[in-house]
Symmetry: D2
Subunit: 383 residues, 4 copies
Amino acid sequence: MAENGARRIRLGMVGGGTGAFIGAVHRIAARIDGDYELVAGALSSNPETAMESGKNLRLAEDRIYTSYEDMAAKESARPDGIEAVAIVTPNHVHFGPAKTFLEAGIHVICDKPVTSTLEDARALAEVQPKNGAKFLLTHNYTGFPLVRQARELVASGALGKLRVVQVEYPQEWLTEATDPDNKQAAWRTDPKRSGAGGAIGDIGTHAYNLARFVTGLTTEAVSADLQSFVPGRELDDNVHILLRFEGGARGMLWASQVAVGNENGLQLRVYGDKGGLEWRQDNPNYMWFTEFGKPKQLLTRGGSISAPPAASMNVRIPAGHPEGYLEAFATLYSQFAQVIRGEGDDVAPLLPSLADGIEGLEFIMAAVASSKADGKWTRLSDV
Amino acid sequence: MAENGARRIRLGMVGGGTGAFIGAVHRIAARIDGDYELVAGALSSNPETAMESGKNLRLAEDRIYTSYEDMAAKESARPDGIEAVAIVTPNHVHFGPAKTFLEAGIHVICDKPVTSTLEDARALAEVQPKNGAKFLLTHNYTGFPLVRQARELVASGALGKLRVVQVEYPQEWLTEATDPDNKQAAWRTDPKRSGAGGAIGDIGTHAYNLARFVTGLTTEAVSADLQSFVPGRELDDNVHILLRFEGGARGMLWASQVAVGNENGLQLRVYGDKGGLEWRQDNPNYMWFTEFGKPKQLLTRGGSISAPPAASMNVRIPAGHPEGYLEAFATLYSQFAQVIRGEGDDVAPLLPSLADGIEGLEFIMAAVASSKADGKWTRLSDV
Amino acid sequence: MAENGARRIRLGMVGGGTGAFIGAVHRIAARIDGDYELVAGALSSNPETAMESGKNLRLAEDRIYTSYEDMAAKESARPDGIEAVAIVTPNHVHFGPAKTFLEAGIHVICDKPVTSTLEDARALAEVQPKNGAKFLLTHNYTGFPLVRQARELVASGALGKLRVVQVEYPQEWLTEATDPDNKQAAWRTDPKRSGAGGAIGDIGTHAYNLARFVTGLTTEAVSADLQSFVPGRELDDNVHILLRFEGGARGMLWASQVAVGNENGLQLRVYGDKGGLEWRQDNPNYMWFTEFGKPKQLLTRGGSISAPPAASMNVRIPAGHPEGYLEAFATLYSQFAQVIRGEGDDVAPLLPSLADGIEGLEFIMAAVASSKADGKWTRLSDV
Amino acid sequence: MAENGARRIRLGMVGGGTGAFIGAVHRIAARIDGDYELVAGALSSNPETAMESGKNLRLAEDRIYTSYEDMAAKESARPDGIEAVAIVTPNHVHFGPAKTFLEAGIHVICDKPVTSTLEDARALAEVQPKNGAKFLLTHNYTGFPLVRQARELVASGALGKLRVVQVEYPQEWLTEATDPDNKQAAWRTDPKRSGAGGAIGDIGTHAYNLARFVTGLTTEAVSADLQSFVPGRELDDNVHILLRFEGGARGMLWASQVAVGNENGLQLRVYGDKGGLEWRQDNPNYMWFTEFGKPKQLLTRGGSISAPPAASMNVRIPAGHPEGYLEAFATLYSQFAQVIRGEGDDVAPLLPSLADGIEGLEFIMAAVASSKADGKWTRLSDV
């Protein structure tokens, strides 16, 4: 948290004009710990929206842009130009800005999925970032303190050799046919803007990434059964996937946008030969941890247990006072700021990277391919 | 509940000698509502154990048997002979007694699975019961009042057209290699006594039966991945299965005996295009019910909602006072007594039958076959 | 549990005719473990109801009585007469039968409160039971396994010196004016039949007894504020009480019949200088236990912890399978049977006694007196 | 939320130097919605700490002060001086700064309790703020969206006429004698710095304020029993209070710093003759709401129910994604910014005021007086 005298990092934003959801989330995340100052934006491709949105955010008029290319060129030419940019456009407009800003030597914070196609993601990996520009993918759930603690518990051997991973992300919001006026729903159910996956791309990858982040297991293959339940929907809205990991662990992944009664029911459960743990996003300040043969323990965020180092946990308030989604998101921003300043060697391994983004797309592609092949076990490397 | 003056049904028991688990459960279930009187038993194949166990249960000495064949022959010859028999032996000793007693005209209450092989189960269906002797399979979880209510909610259309079924039964008790002195664990992990399936047969079938009972969906095919995590274990101890139902609904089933932190975590979640419901066995007096677009409701056993007819619910005490596993079990016994007395036409369709038992074995066999074929989608009718 | 060959105890019942609630509960409790056989009854003062109810329960016609005096006289004269009697009448008809049967040398199982007035309770203590007849008061919540375990945890010093006791029993069922046709509600809200207290007598005493049973603390004084919220109601329907215990611990007790959303929310929380525990009746197979400075632990009925001796816990089925209200009730019956047989020395101290009943009435009287005196701290011994 | 182009309000801070808890919370709260810019501070009375803390917060050196008087004088003389100040010192250093800044025409955001004595609080009410300077008391729990919704539900009549209020705030952190090196604990247990109350002042007032905010009931009198359980502790660490409200509703309030197993267990339950609601701070995105005779409903923050106007709720992210303590705190800051800008007429009634602060101290004084008078019912106006 930048209450250590460090200068604020000058931030730009691509997308996130008035009315957008995730752009506002990124801005709050950037503000919480005080590490960034938003000074420029290509907030919309619509010039009027771009200008209005920029003024609402108190940007100087000459730093309100209508194209990201323009912003990259002009900002990199200014002595007080942006040092980092947040990309919060729909999926199909991730690749272009990401490539452009990295090549301009500007650090990139990119919403997930990294791109809308695997090809783009792999192409992005070939980009030569100027001046060592860094990349952060906002798989935000990895920022929750107890998710970090879960990862450390697994790594410490407290669960023993892992056997079973159960991860799920049920939602209900797309239970009915999408209202075309619902901007959030419209692009997410449109293959052109969202990419090859529906639920699997929007939330399945979050679930997958969370499981990978906590367990550290390497995926061997997936067997998938994808469905589109709502008539007329082109993309999947419910996803059933079996997982095989190297070393023998197995898993199940369920993601759904049609599970009535679930708002954002992201849940991870991991079992090894010595212990188990269970965590839910909708009450994220608590985590069950069980050592075989002993009672279940309810770990709390920052509570009474030998916790991981403060740096990795980034707990802001005492145990029993709930932190939430925005704080977890803010931790990614705050720790990426440490990395940018060259002080983040200890936290860098915790931050979702371009490699995670590529793997996320491989996961999507492998699942889609498996489902088309009637559930054939498919390796991520085969897509 | 037989507080209506009806005579008690004379009951015998096969298996369930001192120290056995499920035999004692059956006896409590038989006593709770007062419909049965235990008067004879072939409680053990060991004569001394049989005698001691029988005396402990206050049986007359001449009605303590050491073989079920002997018991069937002698009891059916007595004017006051048993009218029904409870079979609570290990799985491989279900078929023989079931066939024998049905052919002797004695009603059979059989613990699940109905037999240890599918062939036996199908053979049992060919038996001609004498005098219309009836058969009850104690898939006891179907006796929970809220499970009954869930079934009626689905049947009433409150959930709309079903889409997704998530069912799981995680346990932890076989996390480590089985102690040979643990009688319960020993036969359950021995293919000779348990049958072709481990976790899938012991608890996976309960989960499957519960899902079928509540949803009424017909299974089309399964794709399975079975594991034996504990070194040296011959049978599966963790089961991941994808389900396809006729009409398009899909499901996932997880059963595990190595999920540390779970005692008996049977859970069913069902989602349709209008609503969803969620129920857990370990706190069975509560059920979530959500109509799309409205807040979640917490239904309680016997609580404030237009509930199904009392006959089907069989609630014994007011809402807020917990009933449990034994009462659910007792409901099967009590309603089977109604059937035996010729007064159970309304409840008979709710009672697990031989057909359910056969389907359970088909499910096991199909899952085992699918797993061996690397997850190939397999129809129940193909095994 | 009487699966040890012991003879069944011959039981009679006073009250509990067809339609009554608590009588049916007592009968199930008597049946669950098989220690009793119901053979006689004065089930109703209405001869027709008595006869019909008796036949429904398969009693011999000559053992269906219309007065408890008659039953006491005739049964004590029979060689096969009842050995114990269950009194399940409204509160004002507890004293007469209890006195009569004790004096006839018949063991008494009496629903709480022991009598409707403190004078009667104290008079009952003066009765000389013939042949050492025993008395059991069915404060049934003390029969829950985890309540027993809580008591042992406190006694073992695991919580250290006790400081704070929070106990509550909220219900909602009397939120509106009582329907005169609701038999259960009618007598409970009638001072003539219920005694001096409403909510305090019906459920407040349960809460008080539970707190006393678990903590072992001796009450010093109470300060009460009793309310009757429903217009026209003569008895209290909401009770706020502060407690002072000898040795310095303090407590709060809340009982309510007008707390919308609560069915039977009995909850006990106890805190000492080393630890704390929390238990709820509506999910009674789980209890929180915290040692200061360590994570909360979720203890389960019969689960992974060094539990008290099996005798005192009386667990019937494995952890994770829920037991409930009826099993807790049955434990009192079963262990009283042990006492009757002279085999219950270890469990006798766990069974609610006449002394507990007298203290319960002292508690009611002291609270009523305190409330009338504007909350004056009142000793139990002062009433 | 100031993403509407409005200028940021220039903020100063008194207290909150490096290592302080609540100062950091205020700063995050001020940042989240982007309405404030921290530009000056008298962060510590220790000059070195003040300077170091100020630099850490990137303050210009000439705006790092060592006394609040100096800051008030110099800032009010600058054209770009602070417009508002946050007072986050220990309780006994609230009055001085509050008076000084109000008289300097600078808006005041003051941590609770408003002052350490009732006299001071009343004196503060006599202060003539220059230029209409406003006052905000950060009773932060009133900022939770569901607390706002609870208040609107009550006001709408959804609960009917209120009867019972149960509010509690148990903590465990002062279970043992205070470590003198624990800065947070030290001043809170020191009468000189904390004021007349311990637990009652630190957390009891939060509970009281929450109950008043949601119910709108006017307190008639209190009857209290305060304890200091830890040997040597001068202030209360456990508080039992009975409440009487005008119109007949009654309540109980429990606050404790010695309840092992509770981190910050603030809980409010309110019952009327038509409905009830229940909310907990440690999982604040959910609230139970029950209409009598219907199933309990689980309301979610921003979820499926006709919610209050967005302005009053101030929900930042979709239902199912948890918001927490910091967002609730930020809502007070953000809405106070609206008030400062003259755009907050609709939200002003929701913001805790000086009057609330005075009532909080009256509540503390009345409870202390009642406890000393052995629980005598005491009116707030009598102290």
